[in-house]
Symmetry: C2
Subunit: 137 residues, 2 copies
Amino acid sequence: MLSIGEMSRRSGVKVPTIRYYEQMNLIDAPERSAGNQRRYTHAALDRLTFIRHARDLGLSLEAIRELVRLSENPAMPHDEAHRIATSHLAAIRERIARLKRLEKELTRVEANCHADQAGDCNIMQVLADHGRCETEH
Amino acid sequence: MLSIGEMSRRSGVKVPTIRYYEQMNLIDAPERSAGNQRRYTHAALDRLTFIRHARDLGLSLEAIRELVRLSENPAMPHDEAHRIATSHLAAIRERIARLKRLEKELTRVEANCHADQAGDCNIMQVLADHGRCETEH
DNA sequence: TCAAAAGCTTCAGTCTCTGGAGATATCTTG
DNA sequence: CAAGATATCTCCAGAGACTGAAGCTTTTGA
Ligand SMILES: [Zn+2]
Ligand SMILES: [Zn+2]
Ligand SMILES: [Zn+2]
Ligand SMILES: [Zn+2]
């Protein structure tokens, strides 16, 4: 059996976060020692590692909750896993697109400033008036 | 003088958010009507519009707070505005880079699945084991 | 055996809002 | 001018995903 500190070291998830996941019902409440400390199985470590990796890939806890449920029923069709992955991918692509627009706009704005004072600074003027932007964002 | 609803309609910032900005000292507490309702000047509307646009460009309220301070002292050098813009740009570029790595990994993982059941689904297997990933992320 | 390390619970804070409850104010229409 | 509709007021809680501290108890290992 593993203590919560062991779990943390092996999974890379911080101790308070593990307790938080338990509270959010992402992981099962484990057994306790005689002195009320958490004692985990290796299966619980695998679960936590799975969650950690999914978080690293940017999935929400809500999405992970569904994936965890799926991973417990390996006989189920994997459609739902793909649905989750696809919609996450779409969200990522949207965020990339938005950030690229912002990057472009900000780069242009900054390059176009030849002022001495804040009052004439192109950045300040663009911020005050979206009409000076070249793109929507 | 403008009511808070007018301010909201004209700036696109929701009413509770305007009150929140006041609480966070991003905008000054306005005058009040006889019945204790907020009454704003057109200068306050300009300020709010500035904040809104900066938010749309992804700046944090902390960064905006500094920009607002700058915009009140138009005689100051604009170095600080550029420092803020540059560091924001760097953050945007980092986020783009990270999201692109995620996109690549997820696209590859999903395309490589030819399973029938969740137990064999490539997505689930990759999530369980980062060793199956091709990139760090 | 006894101190250090690790664990426990509970609460508060992060950031940027957003929404609701219940009371009051203002505006519109008859 | 009165009634009814709309807007606003304050205060509080919740979202997501944690993170940290306070103050106490348990476990570990020299
Ligand atoms: Zn400038
Ligand atoms: Zn703009
Ligand atoms: Zn699959
Ligand atoms: Zn990975």
